[in-house]
């Protein structure tokens, strides 16, 4: 390696392009020598070279830190909780529609169920059949997919929400189904399988269910948040609804 101090500076300039080429690791031997000589002779050049090298080092191989698509989609699906959180805040000071899903579930005979979206529009409608299961179907227009499910008490004493998620063309969808507690925290969650089927145990503290679906490319549909438990009513409205 030559000593740069032996060379007149104007015959031995290094440009930013040179520094970057060396920092990127693809300069030829002569260029590397020239740049390193310049760096030894000047802290300014050395500082620039060190900075570019550090930046390149930090970028190099960073694709390996990319999480799996499943992990990413699931994390993004958590954003649905923000909707629920906001919806709860919005509903706090408004008249809350008397939607007693649990009560309706528990009534005997065939009755039409209304399961409201957070904005108050009907989402679920279904019949309770003689087997004791509540059959529910919702077409989530805004979200662009259909949820079919039933609430079934099983032999083990656990009541589960069992069903499927399909796109409008009836193809199965991958989705994450989450139960949220009263604080909007994730109480339990599961994924649909390859056929779009799912089963999730309904816990006592579950207040809302979130359906966050995504297609094979990982593109997320708008999440759907539905209430599971009786909404709190202002005392006067609660009396009226009795």
């Amino acid at each position: 390696m030559s000593n740069s101090s032996d060379l007149p500076p104007d015959r031995n300039p290094v440009t930013t392009v040179d520094l970057i080429a060396v920092a990127a690791g693809d300069g030829d031997k002569a260029l590397i020598t020239r740049v390193h000589d310049a760096a030894r002779a000047s802290t300014l050049v050395a500082g620039q070279l060190a900075m570019f090298s550090r930046i390149v080092d930090e970028m190099r191989g960073d694709n390996l830190n990319e999480p799996s698509i499943n992990a990413l989609v699931a994390a993004k699906a958590l954003g649905a909780q923000l909707h629920a959180r906001r919806a709860r805040a919005d509903h706090r000071d408004r008249v809350v529609l008397p939607t007693f899903v649990e009560t309706l579930f528990d009534r005997a005979a065939a009755i039409v169920l209304d399961w409201l979206r957070p904005d108050g529009t009907p989402a679920f409608a279904g019949l309770r059949d003689d087997r004791g299961a509540d059959l529910l179907e919702v077409s989530a227009d805004a979200a662009g997919f259909v949820i079919r499910c039933e609430r079934t008490p099983a032999m083990d004493g656990i009541t589960r929400l069992v069903g499927e998620l399909v796109a409008r063309d009836d193809t199965p969808l991958r989705a994450r189904i989450m139960l949220l507690d009263a604080r909007g925290c994730s109480a339990q969650w599961t994924h649909t399988d390859a056929l779009g089927m799912f089963a999730i145990a309904l816990t006592h503290d579950a207040r809302e269910v979130v359906f966050a679906a995504y297609d094979v490319n990982g593109s997320a549909f708008t999440p759907v948040v539905l209430p599971l438990a009786p909404r709190e009513l202002p005392p006067d409205r609660a009396r009226e609804s009795r």
Partner: protein, 223 residues
């Protein structure tokens, strides 16, 4: 970490129920969280669980986090703790599998390695610094955006020996232009990063020269 108004705005939007802002937040920090998980050598399924736990913790604390500038550090610490807890749980499960006495699950020694991890002060600190520096570069790239970001990620993201022909085709850049474009983009990125607090500040003279990429550096530059 440097000030980052982007996070502040995203937090405000998240608190207002904007899930698109949440997506951006997840995208911004996904690699930081995942890299911490990888360093802790979590298995695939466990890694996904931890990833989920960390972002669940973030969303649960979104109303209470006030130091948005420290989010990267918070995520690193939260992820490490989640990994340690998961590892402790796995070890307990393994012990339970091999032990006739299920009470071992309550044995405080089951979490002793957590304390061991936590006690590696200096090494932990250096590792965290490196993680945060890399996150700063990601943030710089995000702010750079456009073709420059795409080119730099394509050239360096995969590791060594980038395929210039493929990059040329994908980004619609002539192979001969990749080198000069890379230099311009790296300069822009360096400027972004300096604004974010990356590396030591340079003298004004150097910054002025730095802005003109064809200006030669004089090897006998006075210090």
């Amino acid at each position: 970490m440097a000030s980052n108004d982007g996070d502040l705005r995203l937090f405000e939007r998240c608190r207002a129920g904007d899930s698109a802002a949440w997506d951006t937040l997840v995208d911004r920090y996904r690699r930081l969280v995942w890299s911490v998980i990888l360093k802790q050598r979590m298995r695939d399924g466990d890694a996904e669980d931890v990833f989920q736990q960390v972002f669940t913790a973030l969303i649960e604390h979104i109303d209470s986090i006030r130091d948005e500038d420290g989010l990267a550090s918070w995520l690193v610490v939260t992820t490490k703790r989640a990994c340690w807890r998961a590892t402790a749980r796995l070890r307990r499960d393994e012990r339970n599998m091999h032990s006739l006495d299920s009470r071992i699950s309550d044995d405080p020694r089951a979490t002793e390695h957590v304390d061991q991890h936590a006690s590696h002060g200096d090494a932990e600190s250096a590792e965290t610094e490196q993680l945060l520096e890399r996150q700063l570069v990601r943030l710089g790239l995000e702010r750079l955006g456009g073709k420059c970001r795409a080119l730099l990620e394509a050239l360096f993201g995969a590791g060594s020996d980038p395929n210039y022909a493929l990059i040329s085709q994908r980004l619609d850049i002539r192979v001969g232009s990749i080198g000069p474009t890379r230099a311009r983009c790296l300069e822009k990125l360096a400027l972004q990063l300096r604004r974010l607090g990356f590396g030591p500040s340079l003298p004004a003279e150097a910054q002025a020269r730095f802005a003109d990429r064809d200006a030669p550096f004089d090897a006998s530059d006075p210090e």
